[in-house]
Symmetry: C2
Subunit: 177 residues, 2 copies
Amino acid sequence: MNFNLKEAIEVLERTPKTLESLLVGLSDEWLQCNEGEGTWNSTQVVEHLIECEKSNWIPRIKTILEERGNTGNRVFPPFDRDAHLTNPSQSSISEKLEEFKRLRGQNIAFVRAEITGDSQFELTGEHPSFGKVKLRELLSTWVVHDLTHVSQIVRVMSERYREDVGPWVEYLSVLKG
Amino acid sequence: MNFNLKEAIEVLERTPKTLESLLVGLSDEWLQCNEGEGTWNSTQVVEHLIECEKSNWIPRIKTILEERGNTGNRVFPPFDRDAHLTNPSQSSISEKLEEFKRLRGQNIAFVRAEITGDSQFELTGEHPSFGKVKLRELLSTWVVHDLTHVSQIVRVMSERYREDVGPWVEYLSVLKG
């Protein structure tokens, strides 16, 4: 096991800036392209990350922390991973990333304030599909979820040039998936 | 085909900043981890990107441009994709990314100065494995090569938490590869 809260936060606090550096100022052709019907473009991925900051990570962390010592209900509140598709916002990518950065900052501050001892990492909640999960698994997942979606964005952008790279397609692992 | 020089440069000019936002200030545990023996860590990926700025993209572009109108030798100069492993530098990740940014800036300036008409995109060079390749394929590959290596870095970092995410491994596509 490699999880360590300090190192996890290092990644969490960098993601908004990383996406800002990658995406802000790009042409709409890069921001709106996707991998085909039913897949997300980069803008939609950012909207999903915002939705997770609002309705996934912190509500789940609170469910685990607030029930400590009880044998009561630790079932995570529902999360709709397609919520951002139902109510798409009209803001620019720059505004969306500002919102993501603000929410992420608040959420990291919450984690720093509320998770103060290593013993808390073993506290559990009930995931709707997986059953019992530990706080340290949830926090590790938050980190890898960020990385998964950075990976998705660069994969979606790469797909746009699949034909354009000609024979090099064979060497470019991002186009293998 | 989607290639367009303006849009390609948008991506090329963002990569150094993206990697700086992602990597500078991370603990060595994130910067030195890899996917097992014989695989690259994030620092080595950045060293490879620097080597490509020096010895791959521009020498190949020059080979194509300088031979225009001739029937002469358009074979690309040799490129050793493991060169950075033979002579690893001792500089910090921040210094490496500064070097990458500086070289990338120079190389984009070269491209802007030397590639001025669409007809140049059809000029060709000889790739050692693929044979005849077009300038537009090489430029598209430069873009996707950047994205491939951003993808590699986030995959390598994610791998570090493969066990830590517990049952969520099933949902995290970056851990599927």
